[in-house]
């Protein structure tokens, strides 16, 4: 489906930001083809589409590796790819990761709703008629390619987030961490967590040690992407791009921006471990990762 960097400023009306699950990968795909980093691009979960170029264009494929091919030959990820009219971009199958991003020079023409082209399925707004793409849909570029199509920019592996099927996820102690018993606090930051079957754009349910949580009910408050809630049953939920904007479950931790791409690329059955960081450490790790996106600007 069509995504961008999310819908700003409407949380107070219950409208979640949406946007790319892996915002780093979407930004990188856009910058690799010379777009503004928040241009509308495709997010494809689990499998990739077959796209036939109706005109010459420059594209970039980032995020997960679903085995991209150009006219049947292996095509590189994290770099600009020139497609001539009639060329076909396809995917042989998932190698690792959950979500691939495909940007086209000029950005995708998309329906904007409340300041963003992000698809929000719950209300069927934004993106491509508010829905996922299906075979036969035709996508147009929003604008002519912003610069001559030179397919040579690339982002080397060491400049990308440290994607892994068992990542170490930086998390900051949240407002209600003290509601966990001392052993549960230790377990939260030490044990391995499995991504459960309920893992979608709204959030991931995690499976692992049962956490002991206590305390009186909270009145509802605002939430954000990366918040780790613990309902009374003790199984944490990580909120993702289409998360509910308010809730009342205790928030024991918040995933740092630098690690959200790692979580976005996990599938049910994958694992993660949380590592506790301070706000300041998380921010400086983000600045370092952010610098590799800035290196793509020309």
């Amino acid at each position: 489906m069509v995504q961008d960097l999310g819908r700003p400023g409407r949380r107070g009306f219950g409208v979640t930001p949406s946007g790319a699950m892996d915002r780093f990968a979407l930004s990188a795909a856009n910058l690799l083809v010379g777009n503004p980093e928040g241009a509308a691009a495709l997010e494809c979960a689990l499998s990739g589409p077959t796209l036939v170029a109706l005109t010459n264009c420059l594209v970039a494929v980032t995020g997960a590796d679903f085995g991209p091919t150009l006219n049947g030959e292996p095509a590189p990820c994290w770099t600009g790819i020139f497609m001539a009219e009639g060329d076909s971009l396809a995917f042989t199958g998932r190698v690792w990761g959950a979500r691939v991003y495909i940007a086209v020079a000029g950005g995708l023409a998309a329906e904007r709703w409340l300041g963003s082209a992000a698809t929000y399925s719950l209300v069927a707004r934004g993106g491509f008629h508010g829905r996922a793409l299906k075979a036969g849909d035709e996508l147009l570029a929003a604008a002519p390619a912003p610069r001559p199509a030179v397919a040579e920019l690339m982002l080397p592996a060491q400049s990308r987030p440290p994607y892994d099927e068992e990542p170490s996820v930086a998390a900051i102690a949240g407002p209600h961490l003290r509601r966990l018993s001392a052993p549960s606090r230790r377990a939260f930051f030490r044990e391995l967590w499995a991504v459960g079957r309920d893992a979608d754009r709204m959030g991931y349910r995690l499976e692992g040690p049962e956490l002991e949580i206590s305390g009186p009910d909270l009145v509802s408050f605002g939430l954000s992407m990366g918040c780790v809630q613990v309902p009374p049953a003790g199984q944490p939920i990580v909120l993702m791009a289409d998360h509910q904007t308010a809730g009342g479950y205790p928030v024991v931790a918040g995933v740092a921006r630098v690690s959200l791409p790692l979580v976005a690329q996990l599938l049910p059955g994958d694992h993660l471990r949380f590592r506790e960081v301070s706000v300041e450490t998380a921010q400086s790790e983000w600045r370092r990762l952010r610098a590799s996106l800035d290196s793509l600007r020309q």
Partner: protein, 207 residues
């Protein structure tokens, strides 16, 4: 007041845990004041809290927390009462009889009690247009349904605990369904896309 991070660019300022108009008014005033700052991208008021999405390139977590502590001490500006919405309801909900039996009230009494107060919109959230209205009269308070419904139609007027509200979209839900209204609470073609704002007032009437 307690300030704590929700991430590395978001924090939660908790003013209190009561369902209370004065507390909610303070949270709204704090959110409005924070929204005016250049280093704040978005400030969202809850019942008694504010979530602040800030730009760490312009302000540190400690700097912003300190500023919030100072802002809370300032006397809140006088708050005008919110707009009053009168919402027509057909009280024919699928849970009405069951609720009447559990509360040992007649259906007429439930309707009278539900239409009597002017409710406050304490917060909008969860899904687009969902308004947390309350407080509900003590006599109407019931815990949520043990088994939530997988599908509640948009426009359903419902209650649970000390809260009442109207489902803005067809969603799953665990509240007791008292009736329905034709008034739309989610307005996708408007901006803001909701009928209500936090701080507005609502009174239901039976039709």
């Amino acid at each position: 007041m307690k300030v704590a991070p929700l991430g590395d660019a978001t924090l939660l300022a908790e003013l209190g845990q009561r369902v209370d108009t004065a507390l909610n008014t303070r949270a709204l005033a704090l959110a409005a004041a924070l929204s005016k700052r250049r280093d704040v991208r978005e400030a969202v008021a809850g019942y008694g809290s504010v979530v602040v999405h800030y730009d760490p390139e312009q302000v540190t977590y400690k700097g912003l927390s300190g500023a919030i502590q100072k802002m809370v001490q300032a006397k809140p500006p006088h708050a005008e009462p919110g707009r009053l919405h009168r919402i027509p309801v057909v009280y024919d909900g699928p849970d009405l009889q069951e609720v009447a039996a559990e509360l040992k009230l007649s259906v007429e009494e439930i309707i009278r009690l539900h239409t009597e107060p002017i409710y406050r919109c304490f917060m909008i959230g969860f899904v687009p247009g969902w308004a947390y209205l309350g407080p509900l009269p003590e006599k109407l308070r019931l815990p949520r349904r043990r088994v939530p419904r997988t599908h509640v139609p948009a426009g359903s007027v419902a209650m649970a605990g000390a809260q009442t509200g109207v489902y803005p979209l067809p969603t799953p839900g665990g509240w007791h369904l008292l009736g329905r209204t034709s008034v739309k609470f989610f307005l996708p073609n408007s901006d803001p896309p909701t009928l209500l704002r936090t701080g507005d007032r609502v009174r239901f009437f039976a039709t």
